[in-house]
């Protein structure tokens, strides 16, 4: 029971962090059809900007400046770079953002060095929220989770309940029609891309203070974020949330479970045979927990490519 409760708690907060990073990616893909490979780089950029700003003006300033600055970078990319390749199709957009990811990572190494930088949350936030089964639960984890929930709520309300949201969705479905009705579609797209990037920047600023801020953080989280977005359904905000939580919980529970295929065969009396084969059969779930998300992604792509909550199929 203790295992289940603690794992659930950890899984949910980690899942919410994943959601925070993937929300922007989902937004951009859902609205514009651009799969932004540089998204995780925006996340990393956010952490570094927040680090640079916070070391001079304090943690809160970093939290405010990072999303704004990263959002501006995003808008510049959308305004000046993407249109140049748009005519060549989505593949070229994908490739362009892929190149941008490389450049951002190398620039960060150039200016901040290869080592992790010392980006810390302020001492006031470093306390335990409550104690569960004898171990403390850090407040900051709840803070990250809370931010994610607020982010989801705001985005969802914005998209479904406001006029702006209706315009944005109209722009996505029928850009020509929306434009004919007098809406400035290029500005809408730029705003959407900027918001998506800003969300990644904010996630970086918040999470960078909890996890190490280093030049690899983009790559490390990047692939997982892709998994989340694909599993949830490209473009579906609710799907992203669901997939984030699923993968968060899964990673959390897998650690505690020394299951293997051989064990599974053991249930039907073939355990020794499976163990004799070795290889895949005897791999423990806990030691390959980082592999499972990819398998999950593959499965979803093949069985239900629109993802768990995707609308388009």
């Amino acid at each position: 029971m203790e295992f289940a409760i603690v794992s659930t708690l950890n899984g949910v907060t980690y899942g919410l962090l994943l959601f925070m990073v993937s929300a922007g990616l989902t937004l951009i893909f859902g609205m514009m059809g651009v799969l932004n490979f540089a998204h995780a780089s925006f996340y990393m950029l956010g952490a570094y900007v927040a680090y640079a700003v916070s070391s001079a003006f304090g943690f809160l300033a970093g939290l405010v400046v990072a999303p704004i600055l990263v959002g501006i970078v995003g808008m510049l990319v959308e305004r000046f770079l993407l249109p140049r390749v748009h005519a060549h199709g989505h593949a070229h957009e994908l490739l362009l953002t892929f190149g941008l990811a490389l450049i951002i990572e190398e620039l960060i190494k150039l200016f901040f060095g290869d080592f992790p930088v010392n980006y810390q949350m302020p001492g006031d936030l470093r306390f335990s929220a409550f104690t569960i089964f004898g171990s403390d639960y850090p407040f900051y984890r709840l803070f990250i989770g809370g931010m994610a929930v607020v982010m989801f709520a705001l985005l969802w309300l914005l998209l479904t309940r406001t006029r702006t949201g209706i315009v944005v969705r109209a722009a996505e479905r029928l850009p020509a029609m929306a434009e004919a009705l007098g809406h400035n579609i290029p500005v809408v797209f730029m705003a959407v891309f900027g918001t998506g990037a800003a969300l990644a920047g904010l996630a970086g600023a918040v999470a960078g203070a909890f996890y190490p801020t280093n030049p690899n953080m983009g790559i490390e989280l990047g692939v997982i974020v892709f998994v989340v977005v694909v599993v949830g359904g490209l473009g579906s905000l609710k799907g992203s949330l669901l997939a984030s939580l699923l993968i968060g919980l899964f990673s959390s529970f897998a650690v505690g479970l020394d299951w293997s295929l051989a064990g599974l065969f053991g249930l039907v009396g073939l355990g020794d045979w499976a163990r004799a084969i070795g290889g895949l059969m005897t791999l423990k779930l806990s030691s390959v927990s980082a592999t499972i998300p990819f398998a999950l992604m593959l499965l979803v792509l093949l069985v239900r490519p629109a993802g768990l909550m995707g609308e388009r199929n």
Binding site: N118, S128, G134, P212, S287
Partner: protein, 409 residues
């Protein structure tokens, strides 16, 4: 090699100089780009420093020793490629430290090269590849390991922590799921009797892919250990320690790579009281080497820089016993001389075990404290020496799998 510069220099030399002595050429094949750049850079720094020392003392064979950096981008296939380039540039001795996988690739490349090019051998000085197989199944005459291995680190930790009363009777082992982590896990199991502890749990996890260590901490907590042994490095160590600190779990960590730059600063006060066993720490020496290093490079030696510089110093000693009279350099003779050398490093003597070319070397056990003599990462924390375990106590028997073929056999 800066090939463009090399081309220009070579043609200039060809035009200008009459018969010149053959210089000793050293190649550093390191991770100078990619994820492990930070560590690769430090190995390269230290080797450059060591070569400078040799050259200040007059070089070798009547010429300054030449040193060239090759970027293996952190991958074994690229390292194989750079090895061939190094051979093309006429390199005699290869140095490498970051990653056992790359060390494994290089030692195999060196072995094959030497079989095919008798008389033009290359030797490989391994500064950081700690996988047991490098002095086990893959052991060979032209490979020398100038660092510790898992049993050496674990035995030293057990020894020092027990004497200090910090070991406890229940030990947990959490390691990365590859040869180094598996070696650590085995070493922790093997030392249970001498340490008088019980291994209450062990886990192997993916290497540098885990973002959230809270579930692992929950698992550790359930086992209620006194001490947690881990060979984790980079993010895996940092995240693990942070998660443990956040959970308020009261355990002592026994680590191998806590001194990696950025770790102490990132871990913050959580780091205090944890142990590390490594090759060298400034606080364990009389400080003379540290000052010399700082005078030359601008900073105190950190992480792997110290012991890497000693490897060059030991090589220098071996070179001092040789004289090729300005003629052709015989790498086999250098290797034989290195086998016989004993170097008095600032933390104790180091010598080469002939049977498997593992160095018998002291292991320094330290503890993180506040206000140390040499603060780490610009913080007010750093390492305080607990015990320097001499080489003969830390060493383990030669592995049965090592069947070394000596030259001329």
């Amino acid at each position: 090699m800066h090939r463009l510069a090399f081309l220009a220099a070579a043609s200039a030399v060809a035009l200008a100089a009459p018969a010149q002595a053959e210089p000793l050429k050293i190649g550093i094949i390191e991770s100078l780009s990619g994820a492990q750049t930070s560590t690769g850079r430090l190995y390269a720094n230290a080797v450059e420093y060591g070569v400078d020392q040799i050259n200040k003392a007059g070089g070798f064979n009547g010429e300054p020793v030449q040193v060239t950096e090759y970027d293996n981008a952190g991958g074994a296939p690229e390292a194989a490629d750079k090895f061939r380039q190094a051979v093309a540039d006429g390199v005699d001795i290869i140095f490498q430290g970051a990653s056992s996988a790359i060390a494994g690739q290089l030692t195999e490349d060196v072995r094959k090269h030497n079989i095919r090019n008798a008389g033009h051998e290359v030797m490989f000085i391994n500064l950081g590849g700690e996988a047991m197989e490098l002095t086990g199944e893959k052991c060979q005459f032209y490979h020398f390991r100038f660092t510790t291995t898992a049993p050496m680190r674990v035995n030293a930790l057990v020894n020092a922590m027990k004497a200090d009363g910090d070991l406890g009777t229940k030990v947990y082992s959490i390691n990365q799921n590859y040869s180094w982590g598996q070696d650590m896990q085995k070493a922790v199991e093997a030392a249970a009797d001498t340490g008088g502890y019980e291994v209450v749990g062990e886990v192997l996890h993916d290497v540098n892919k885990i973002q959230d260590f809270a579930p692992f901490v929950a698992r550790i907590k359930a086992a209620a250990p006194d001490t947690v042994f881990t060979g984790n490095w980079s993010n895996d160590l940092l995240l693990l320690m942070k998660a443990t600190g956040d959970a308020g779990l009261d355990v002592t960590f026994a680590t191998a790579f806590l001194d990696q730059p950025g770790n102490i600063a990132n871990a913050g006060k959580t780091a205090i009281g944890h142990y590390i066993a490594n090759n060298y720490d400034n606080a364990a020496s009389d400080g003379k080497f540290a000052e010399d290093y700082k005078a030359a490079t601008g900073h105190y030696p950190i992480f792997v820089e110290g012991h890497s510089a000693f490897a060059l110093a030991q090589l220098k000693q071996a070179l001092d016993t040789l004289d090729f009279g300005g003629g052709e350099i015989d790498v086999t003779k250098i290797a034989l001389a290195l086998e016989d050398s004993t170097y008095d490093s600032p933390v104790g003597p180091s010598s080469v075990r002939k049977a498997d070319h593992q160095t018998i070397r002291p292991v320094v056990v330290s503890k993180v404290v506040e206000n140390p003599k040499y603060p780490a990462d610009d913080t007010d924390m750093g390492f305080q020496t607990v015990k320097v375990v001499p080489g003969e106590d830390a060493i383990y028997p030669v592995q049965d799998s090592c069947q070394m073929k000596r030259p001329g056999e």
